[in-house]
């Protein structure tokens, strides 16, 4: 028994190491492809059948990979001694916290809605179409409205902080996958199990806690992963849209203005935003691994 467990564990470790190596290799592959295109691609862009499809390969449009990486170790502004990696890191940390707030609000709201919809068929029929419609509203149209509403909120001496608008927009993108995924999960338990619960005269809440919710977890976890990266997108776009200071989105747009003279700079912030998205969904994966550690594989779905 022990040996079987050890072999299983070893196999798991090997799989994880292999996955990590593959990730690094894929990054290298992208970097090599980038440099390869720079070497052979047209300096001033090119046309295919009259369409301008080939991007420019000059150093202004596509800085060398090493230039972008070296940029991290140079000061943000000449004359200041703050290296750009620390600025990007601070910006990513700021946005990370906002995304976490948005993720928490969004997934709580999404779970609540899904329970409501699972409980009352009429709620599902009434709410679900609006959830779908809500996601067709462009974020950039919503952002100024949220800022404007927030600016007018004064509840008992509490004023709406500006960062809250960005977090709310993160939540706006995050709640949807959770609501839809959890609804699917909450209604996924087989009829026989429901009948068993009925035979125990279990109340609706007991059925929810002991049957529906555990059965929903395999559906909820992937939707939480989606929600995590969606909240990052929401926060970054909201920062750009509303000009919230301190985060990675704001850095992207500020550095983009300097692309004329310092093209590598904006990429440092763009990579920061990508890393942020990875970190956020990695966090959910870790939580998933922790919670599912004792769950037999075949029990899922």
């Amino acid at each position: 028994m022990t040996t079987v467990a050890t072999i299983k564990k070893n196999r798991e470790t090997v799989r994880r190491v292999r996955r990590a190596i593959l990730f690094v290799v894929s990054l290298l592959f992208v970097a090599v492809a980038w440099e390869l295109y720079k070497a052979v691609g047209p300096e001033a862009g090119g046309k295919i059948f009259g369409w301008k499809l080939l991007p420019r390969s000059n150093n202004n449009a596509m800085p060398h990979v090493w230039d972008m990486l070296m940029r991290y170790n140079r000061p943000e502004l000449r004359g200041s001694d703050r290296k750009i990696w620390s600025v990007v890191l601070a910006g990513a940390w700021f946005s990370f916290r906002l995304a976490l707030v948005g993720f928490a609000i969004g997934s709580t709201l999404g779970l609540g809605l899904s329970i409501l919809m699972a409980r009352f068929k009429i709620a599902e029929r009434g709410i679900l179409p609006y959830l779908v419609v809500s996601q067709t509203v462009p974020l950039i149209a919503l952002a100024p409205l949220v800022v404007s509403w927030g600016g007018k909120l004064h509840i008992a001496g509490w004023t709406w902080p500006r960062w809250m608008s960005a977090a709310v927009l993160g939540a706006f993108l995050a709640f949807f996958p959770v609501a839809v995924g959890a609804l699917k999960g909450l209604t996924s338990a087989p009829l026989a199990s429901h009948e068993l619960m009925d035979s125990y005269a279990a109340s609706w809440w007991q059925t929810l806690r002991k049957l529906r919710f555990p059965a929903a977890i395999p559906f909820i976890v992937p939707s939480l992963k989606l929600a995590a990266s969606a909240s990052v997108i929401g926060v970054v776009v909201a920062e750009i849209s509303t000009g919230l200071k301190g985060g990675i989105g704001r850095l992207i747009i500020e550095y983009a203005r300097e692309a004329t003279g310092d093209p590598a700079k904006v990429f440092t912030a763009v990579f920061g935003a990508a890393a942020l998205g990875l970190a956020m969904s990695g966090l959910v994966t870790l939580a998933d691994i922790y919670m599912m550690r004792n769950r037999p594989k075949e029990a899922s779905a």
């Binding site: 000449r78 916290r97 928490a104 007018k152 960062w163 300097e258 004329t260 939580a287 004792n294």
Partner: protein, 384 residues
Amino acid sequence: MRKSKSWKLAAGVAALSLAAVACGGSDSPSTESSAPAACETTTSVKLQLQWFTQAQFAGYFAAVDQGFYAAQCLDVSILEGGVDIVPQQQLADGAVDFALSWVPKALASREAGANIVDIAQIFQRSGTLQVSFKDKGITSPADFAGKNIGNWGYGNEFEIFAALTKAGLDPAADVTLVQQSFDMAALLAGDIDAAEAMTYNEYAQVLEAIDPATGKQYTADDFNVVSYEDEGVGMLQDAIWASGERLASDAVYKDTATKFVAASIQGWAFCRDDPQACADIVVSKGSKLGASHQLWQINEVNKLIWPAAGGAGMIDADAWDRTAKLAQETKNLEGSTVLTAAPDAEAYTNEIVTAALAILDGLDVDTKGSSFAPIDVTLNEGGA
């Protein structure tokens, strides 16, 4: 077994939200305020900028930093703009007390029903340019014919259309209009023959870039510049806008507006007299633009404000009428104009700024700047 796991997930989500709220809550909003010295009550004022912190708004930051607002018993929070923040909309919605906006755009909002009033015309001149490389031979709007002309759109392009119309060109047929982004890379790459640029920002960006042919920075000799102000089609730009409704009904707000305009102009006078100190203030407020770029910007902005023959902030009826007329007559590509009718007489008032200038006269502040002379600024690579 199962029960405990599902509750762990719920507890995890709850703990996560608590942690997140705690983390997020520790951040105070990034506004600047200063405590008053000898005021019985201080009035909180929110000013909405059009864009991020930069020297274009130096006068307001200087007024905060130097305590000019505090001396008027005002506690001013300066709110930065963003890509989708429309200052006059924030003002009309009541989210802020005052907003900065270009006149044509704000008048379009007014025509659409926003009751906003121009109470101080801070920039007396237009700072819009069309910049092109020397070898393109573009020295006047007539030379735009057959060229790729960059423009920002979103209501920032009307001076271009007015200049084209004035030169007898059809914007839809005689030129190729190209949507421009925030940077000037398209001009340097040759996608655009002549790019729209503000004297105080984008023009400096090209002068900070490196010419790959020489390995040195570009100089003003490399470019031709068409100034819309000089071409007679300049439209009024940065002005302080207030709520028309509150001006009419709320005497306290009107008094606040007067004090706010007075202290703001005092801030601009400070920037005129000491551009270096003013640029340092803006840099210290967290602008991401380099020091020489900021100094260039404050110097160019000063040229748009000073000298102010009628006193800074005074709305010149001729310039106003010209702006309104161009806004009604210039058709864009879709054949529509910024305004469909002349703005009503209540769209601007000189009452507030007149009272504000009187306050400043009492403080011995030079509000005309008749002896103003710009300084020479050397731009460093990348604006550093």
